[in-house]
């Protein structure tokens, strides 16, 4: 009989097996995550794969925060309309965030889930960390929980 565990039990068991990748502030306040391969994941995932995933994420965030003609146009138009167009249309940043969410989902399906890992969307953590919940007890199996709050 399958019995589900409570959140607290899971947390107590797995609190040490969550890997957090912090923000990289060397280039300023732009959204960028460290690409340094954490030691806890050495046995779980390929280093190159990890770095490639993080780099793609960083590029997507850079695209969202890019200062260019399009963002200036959007900003000026919004300013002229007293920012009321934000009620009607989606901002460029929000469009890119949707693209990021889709990318993370694909990565989880293709790469991480088979390895027993799950890449959480940083937006759920306030763009502070990318977390990799791992479980040592059930290596190879599907991820038992989703990093949620």
């Amino acid at each position: 009989m399958a019995e589900t565990h409570s959140l607290q039990d899971l947390r107590q068991a797995a609190v040490a097996s969550k890997v957090f990748v912090q923000r990289d502030y060397t280039s300023g306040t732009i959204c960028k995550f460290q690409t340094k391969f954490p030691a806890e994941l050495e046995s779980r995932i390929d280093k190159q794969q990890f770095e490639e995933t993080m780099q793609t994420l960083n590029n997507l965030y850079a695209e969202a925060e890019k200062l260019g003609g399009r963002s200036y146009l959007e900003g000026c138009l919004a300013c002229l309309t007293a920012y009321t167009i934000f009620l009607c249309m989606e901002t460029h940043y929000e469009k890119v965030l949707k693209k990021i969410a889709k990318y993370i989902q694909e990565q989880n399906e293709k790469i991480f889930a088979p390895l027993g890992l799950l890449l959480t969307d940083p937006i759920e953590r306030g763009l502070r960390v990318v977390s990799f919940p791992t479980s040592k007890h059930h290596a190879g199996r599907s991820v038992p929980w989703l990093d949620c709050h």
């Binding site: 009989m1 399958a2 019995e3 589900t4 565990h5 959140l7 899971l10 947390r11 609190v15 969550k18 957090f20 923000r23 502030y25 060397t26 280039s27 300023g28 306040t29 900003g75 300013c79 007293a82 920012y83 009321t84 965030l97 969410a101 989902q105 989880n108 399906e109 889930a113 799950l118 969307d121 937006i123 759920e124 953590r125 306030g126 502070r128 960390v129 977390s131 059930h138 199996r141 599907s142 991820v143 038992p144 929980w145 989703l146 949620c148 709050h149």
Partner: protein, 448 residues
């Protein structure tokens, strides 16, 4: 250990809704309760409206006062300026006196332009007002860039990293982390409330109890923090409010200047058709016109509020009639008295006016026997002035004998000489008419 089997969770199923949907419990634990929104358990000091779409600080500060001030000021402006513009439009259609100001020149010569320009004033004011209100509301009700607090697992991980690197005392000293940002060392501080290292340029607002990215300040006028996400709204609010204030101020000053100039130049609102007359009172210079009114000599008060009334009941009034001295008038036998009418008639015949009222000189008052002519001064002479001759009330002294016996002798030597008395009282200067009489016949009648 319980025999349990973890359920496989399909990540796709959990991502059917937006990324910000309320969290579902793990292991497929189905909650029979209503799904709560995250804002309902938000730990910060904030208020949420419209099911989490709008948020503000818990203490709204003086936001209502800000809104009231803006609305009242703009409302008064629209009410009174619209009335003024309507009046101005009406006046520009009439022909008025030419004034020496450029504004009236424009109004007279460019009625089309004026009529169309004045339309823009309320339009521009309305646009600015709407802009100010929108940006104010957006500043107040937008998330300023609050960082969600670290969850326990993340907090534990951070603590573990700190403990590994530093000392393992129970209460470690304030934690900082040094990082390099564009080759510059920046210290990141640890927030004990949010349990994380604050990103660069992030501060914890004590009023809202949140860490806010690129925190500028907590503004009580808008009732919210000003941070990364609502800084542009705040800036637009401040700038547009400045423009609105300057615009209203400018319109009011122009209005007052127009009123001032028209009143100054004494332009009457009634027009004379076809008459292009100038202003007879102008100094032909706007600055002179202004200076004369504002800095010209201060005229005195003319009503003499503190002056004393004379002892007699009848106040002295300036009349052209000769006022007969009462003690002389009582004496019927006094030949120096004469009716007013006769005096005036005699005045009309006199041709020579000669003043003889010099102090110390004997005065003679040649009179006719039949019609006594006496010069009567209507203003009382000062008592120090000696009087002699038939001059009646000059000295105001009933004991004064203007016609002593020696005067008789002198009178015989006199020829026809009209006598004129010049009163020298200060109040009479310039106000009282002069009265003079003509005495064609010789003779001298002593006055009692």
């Amino acid at each position: 250990m319980k025999n349990c089997e973890y359920q496989q969770i399909d990540p796709r199923a959990l991502r059917t809704s937006t990324t910000r949907t309320p969290s579902t419990l793990p292991c497929g634990r189905k909650s029979s309760q209503r799904l709560r929104r995250k804002w309902e358990i938000f730990p910060g000091n904030n208020r949420f409206y419209c099911d989490g779409r709008i948020m503000s600080a818990r203490q709204c500060g003086v936001l209502p006062l800000t809104i009231v001030l803006i609305v009242i000021t703009s409302g008064l402006f629209f009410t009174f300026e619209d009335i003024s513009i309507a009046l101005l439009d009406m006046k520009s259609c009439q022909s008025e006196r030419v004034a020496s100001t450029w504004s009236w020149f424009i109004i007279r010569n460019c009625p089309f332009l004026v009529r169309h320009l004045t339309i823009f004033i309320p339009v521009i004011g309305g646009v600015l007002f709407v802009f100010v209100i929108f940006t104010l509301l957006q500043t107040s009700f937008t998330d300023p860039g609050i960082l969600p607090r670290a969850l326990p697992d993340e907090a534990v991980d951070i603590e573990r990293q700190i403990d590994n690197s530093g000392s393992s005392t129970y209460r470690p000293p304030p934690r900082t982390k040094e990082i390099l940002i564009n080759d510059q060392v920046v210290k990141l501080k640890y927030c004990f409330t949010c349990k994380m290292f604050r990103p660069p340029r992030t501060s914890h607002c004590s009023m809202c109890d949140n860490c806010v990215e690129r925190f500028d300040h907590h503004c009580p006028w808008v009732g919210n923090c000003v941070g990364k996400r609502n800084y542009r709204f705040f800036y637009a609010f401040i700038v547009s409010l400045s423009f609105l204030t300057s615009f209203i101020f400018g319109c009011v000053i122009t209005h007052l200047t127009l009123l001032f100039c028209t009143l100054q130049i004494k332009g009457s609102w009634s027009s004379k058709r076809g008459e292009d007359s100038g202003n007879p009172y102008t100094y032909n210079n706007i600055f002179t016109n202004c200076c004369v009114v504002l800095c010209g000599p201060m005229p005195p008060s003319l009503i003499d509020r503190r002056g004393f009334l004379p002892p007699d009941d009848a106040p002295q009034t300036v009349t052209s009639d000769a006022e007969l001295p009462p003690f002389v008038a009582k004496n019927d036998t006094n030949m120096c008295t004469q009716g007013t009418k006769e005096i005036i008639e005699s005045m009309a015949h006199s041709t020579v006016i000669q003043s003889t009222c010099t102090p110390g000189t004997p005065k003679t008052a040649p009179v006719t026997q039949e019609s006594l002519l006496s010069t009567v001064s209507i203003m009382v002479s000062p008592p120090s002035k000696p009087s002699s001759g038939c001059s009646g009330r000059q000295a105001r002294r009933p004991t004064d004998m203007p016609c002593p016996q020696r005067g008789n002798k002198r009178a015989a030597l006199h020829t026809h000489k009209p006598v004129l008395h010049l009163p020298n009282s200060p109040y009479s200067l310039g106000h009282s008419p002069l009265i003079f009489s003509d005495a064609p016949d010789m003779g001298f009648i002593p006055l009692n």
